[in-house]
């Protein structure tokens, strides 16, 4: 009931006559940025119907009968795609009881699948949605093994069905963390990786003979099954590495396992091996503003990393890693990479590239840019209207659609804000203020 009321309020605020489910919407007059790397277009139109983008750009005709949203003076952009994050997996990371991101003492590793844990009602989803985030790549944490398990792609819509693509990728640690998880060294991590792949192939050849049920088996049947998809290239293998030499080693894995569909994340020293990454056609989801030698594996970290990789032809997206205030701070990361284009010696991203790095970029890394991440025709209609430049700190979304459905512009944070805009108590305690 409450949700329905919010929806109505939102919709009427936009001047829409009826709630938007399967209908045609045309957003007109705004500055439109497609999220595909191109520059924003002033006075553009975005049309979507039945949850999919029909057309976006200049000179787009408004279909007869479309609900028209006037976006003059505003910006219209795709929703941000956050990755890799734990949205929906942990109400509060530090509250162990609520946290499903890692499974330190589980006998399983690659088999772990975050899908059943995703909670669409977790309050962070609505909080982050109001910051313009509409999709997220959800990754488990590795702890007991180099294999963290299988991540999912979700939407942040106000409904009960969050999962866009379950088992969208396998996540593996192969830098310092991988070494620790494998028993203390990088060589141990590679031994574990190769052994796991070998066992998976054994399992394929003869599933009946494969053990994997013994207490001390390193790989369970489910793990082997999950890794076969990786070996076949049916599931991307997202590898977290930072150091230049680690990146090279990972790129070399395709000599042994030619079908691997690699995605690199972290990659603080990626700029040092940018041409090799580009030649291997491996996409990266990079830590945007990592500029400190935070570990020995990131000695050469610089904010110019993403820009230099892009300049070398690498397909670059930004990770929300380090977005301490929430995944919506991805836009701040992207904006900063535009800012450094004005600082001598730095290499940043053009505005359109920066937006792409937090929209179509992460989607493309998983082969999903045909589905989400931009306002190109056919994509799911994840559309956000902003009251200004979406990368600028002063801007905020004024309307959000996910799969073409208008979203309530309410969240628990907003309710708290409204309750305490005036901190003093009135005639009754604050607990009686139901806003």
């Amino acid at each position: 009931m409450k949700r329905a009321l919010f929806l109505l309020a939102t919709v009427s605020g936009l001047g829409l006559a009826t709630p938007a489910a399967a209908q045609t919407v045309a957003i007109t007059g705004g500055t439109v940025a497609l999220g595909d790397g191109s520059a924003p277009i002033e006075g553009g139109t975005v049309v979507f119907r039945d949850g999919r983008v029909v057309a976006a750009g200049l000179g787009v005709a408004v279909p007869a009968g479309a609900t028209i949203v006037d976006a003059r003076g505003k910006w219209v952009v795709p929703g941000f795609v956050a990755g890799f994050t734990s949205l929906g997996l942990a109400d509060a990371d530090g509250v162990e009881e609520s946290n499903d991101t890692g499974a330190r003492t589980s006998p399983f590793n690659a088999a772990i699948d975050v899908t059943p844990a995703i909670n669409p009602a977790e309050v962070k989803l609505a909080n982050e949605r109001l910051g313009g985030v509409t999709r997220a790549l959800i990754a488990p944490d590795a702890s007991g093994s180099i294999f963290a398990g299988q991540g999912a792609v979700i939407d942040l819509a106000d409904d009960n069905d969050a999962v866009t693509r379950p088992r969208a990728f396998q996540f593996v640690e192969l830098g310092e963390r991988g070494g620790r998880a494998a028993g203390g060294s990088r060589p141990a991590a590679y031994a574990m990786l190769r052994d796991a792949f070998t066992q998976a192939q054994d399992y394929r050849r003869n599933p009946a003979a494969f053990g994997g049920r013994e207490k001390d088996s390193l790989l369970k049947r489910g793990d082997a099954d999950a890794l076969l998809k990786v070996l076949d290239g049916a599931m991307p293998l997202v590898v977290h590495v930072e150091r230049a030499s680690d990146i090279r080693t990972v790129l070399g894995l395709t000599r042994e396992y030619p079908k691997l569909k690699l995605v690199l994340t972290g990659v603080s020293e990626g700029w040092m091996v940018a041409r090799e990454i580009a030649a291997a056609r491996v996409p990266v989801i990079a830590a945007a503003l990592a500029d400190l030698p935070a570990d020995f594996e990131a000695l050469a970290a610089t904010e110019s990393n993403a820009g230099r990789m892009r300049a070398a032809g690498v397909q670059v997206a930004l990770a929300s890693t380090g977005a301490s205030g929430g995944d919506h701070n991805l836009k701040q990361f992207a904006g900063n990479l535009v800012a450094i284009t004005r600082v001598p010696g730095h290499t940043g991203l053009a505005w359109g590239e920066a937006l792409a790095a937090i929209t179509s970029g992460p989607a493309a890394a998983l082969g999903m840019d045909g589905e989400i991440g931009s306002l190109r025709a056919g994509r799911r209609a994840d559309v956000v209207v902003w009251d200004g430049d979406p990368l600028e700190l002063s801007s905020a979304p004024t309307a959000v659609w996910i799969d073409g459905r208008a979203q309530p512009m309410q969240s628990r944070q907003r309710a708290l804000r409204d309750r305490y805009l005036v901190p003093t108590e009135g005639a009754l305690p604050k607990a009686y203020e139901r806003r």
Binding site: D91, A92, D93, G94, V95, V123, K124, N127, A244, E269, M272, L289, A290, D291, L292, P293, A294, D295, F296, A298, L299, A300, A301, T302, E303, S304, G322, S324, G325, G326, N329, Q332, G335, N336, V338, A339, I340, R342, V343, P344, G345, H346, L391, E392, L393, S394, S395, A396, Q413, L416, R417, Y420, L421, P423, T424, K430
Partner: protein, 474 residues
């Protein structure tokens, strides 16, 4: 009588600055014992690791045709700032350049006071963050008032240079971590690389006492099977310790006044005595509104003041209470939801404090966040604006410099562009509340220590020298 006067003068000097003055006081205490039953007191040094910071050479500099935000709520469009001999000389609409001054045209740019981060662990938790460098939490007992953060500071932390070049940070307080109820003394540093910690130490800045309430102490010590393991345990151990400190203070005050047999020295109690005497400022890690209220009452019970609550995620719920107690809240812009006591974080926290007339300021507690505190404030302005609270940019700058300077007890020296104050100045290449803006030049005490256009004015710490990426932009 003579002794009493001498003692108080020495205390003042010790808190004030000089090693020389202290040496003189100590020498005074070394006089031969008199025959009377009352032996005159021998005073110990309040400043055994004195600042050796020196002001680096600068040239008289006039930045003109620039938007000036003075840090005290003032703003001049198309204005000018003049500094010389390490001090701000004047700000105004138009200023004359003295002979030989460097004149900078600031068209389209902004000048502000240097940013002050009241909550940093740079040096104590430096990069690289390896175990061998982890020196921020003496997590071996709930009360470690005896430790001093300055004894952990690694002056070569690469983070200092990033905070300077990307963040325009000119002063920062290094705190011990929050594993302990009383985690020890803080130190205030000028953000200038040096070979020794003492050479970074902000001259004359009072010490702080880091306290913590909430989840961290109870988790760390509860996990070791000892008190405190609950919030009530936190307060119990605090109160027991303050009661001891009150007794220690009485003994030492009496000794310093009357002489006689010196009481046993306790390094931790020295710090608590300094707090009770108002010489050391309490910087209290505390998230929840209800806990802050309890701490304020505990402070009244024992006669000390909480200068600032840090990480005060729920400060917005008790803005009136903080205002009534004259206690500040140092907060993040939008960190929330990472632990139970941060669950109620909202982006409007600082804006609500400001509207309620309470003292608020931004802080980082983070080696990355410290590089973008101006942007953190920009996010607060946006959240406030969308909630109907419009804080002018020039007022918001107080959250970045004068507010922290005040809560560090150094507002008479830095924190705003006021004639006579340290010339800690940042020239930004645009509006510093825009994501597209970066520091162009940063001066500390009038010395140009970062210049985006001059690779020679970009510090490279010892650790980074000769490593991959050494000397690169960062």
């Amino acid at each position: 009588m003579w002794i009493g006067k001498r003692a108080s003068a020495c205390r003042w000097l010790a808190v004030g600055v000089g090693a020389l003055a202290l040496a003189a006081c100590d020498a005074g205490g070394d006089r031969p014992k008199s025959a009377s039953s009352k032996v005159p007191p021998k005073l110990f040094s309040r400043d055994p690791f004195p600042s050796t910071y020196r002001v680096y050479p600068g040239v008289p500099t006039l930045v003109r045709n620039v938007t000036v935000i003075d840090g005290e709520g003032g703003r001049i469009e198309g204005g000018a700032v003049l500094f010389a001999d390490g001090k701000v000389v004047a700000i105004g609409q138009t200023l004359e350049a003295p002979a030989g001054a460097t004149v900078i045209d600031g068209a389209g740019k902004f000048v502000t006071p240097g940013i002050i981060d009241i909550h940093s662990h740079l040096g104590d938790y430096p990069s690289p963050g390896v175990q061998a460098n982890s020196d921020g939490n003496e997590a071996t007992g709930p009360i470690t008032a005896d430790v001093w953060a300055e004894h952990s500071v690694w002056p070569q932390d690469p983070g200092f240079g990033r905070a300077l070049a990307n963040g325009g940070v000119t002063t920062l307080q290094i705190l011990p971590g929050s594993a302990n109820l009383m985690g020890g003394r803080s130190v205030v540093l000028k953000n200038v690389y040096a070979r020794t910690m003492q050479a970074m130490k902000f001259p004359g800045a009072p010490y702080g006492l880091k306290m913590a309430c909430g989840e961290n102490p109870k988790r760390v010590y509860g996990g070791k099977g000892r008190q405190p393991s609950t919030r009530m345990g936190n307060v119990a151990v605090d109160r027991a310790t303050w009661a001891k400190a009150a007794s220690y203070r009485r003994k030492w005050d009496k000794y310093e006044k009357d002489g006689g047999d010196p009481p046993d020295r306790d390094i931790g109690m020295d710090t608590l005595r300094g707090v009770l005497a108002g010489e050391i400022l309490v910087q209290n890690h505390c998230y929840r509104a209800d806990e802050m209220a309890i701490v304020l009452d505990m402070a009244k019970e024992f006669g000390y003041k909480v200068t600032a609550f840090h990480h005060a995620v729920e400060a917005y719920k008790i803005a009136d209470l903080l205002k009534a107690n004259g206690t500040c809240a140092a907060v993040w812009a939008d960190w929330y939801g990472f632990k139970m006591e941060s669950y109620d974080g909202i982006g409007e926290n600082l804006a609500i404090l400001e509207r309620a007339g309470a003292c608020g300021m931004i802080h980082s507690d983070d080696q990355n966040g410290i590089q973008r505190l101006n942007q953190e404030v920009a996010k607060v302005l946006a959240s406030g604006h969308h909630a109907g609270i419009d804080v002018p940019e020039q007022v918001a700058w107080k959250w970045l410099s004068l507010g922290p300077a005040t809560a560090l007890g150094i507002a008479d020296k830095t924190g705003s562009l006021k004639p006579g104050k340290m010339a800690d100045v940042v020239l930004w290449n645009g509006n510093p509340f825009s994501v597209y803006t970066r520091p162009e030049k940063v001066w500390v005490d009038g010395a140009l220590l970062y210049d985006a256009n001059d690779p020679g004015r970009r510090p490279v710490s010892d650790f980074e020298l000769g490593q991959p990426g050494s000397g690169d932009v960062k």
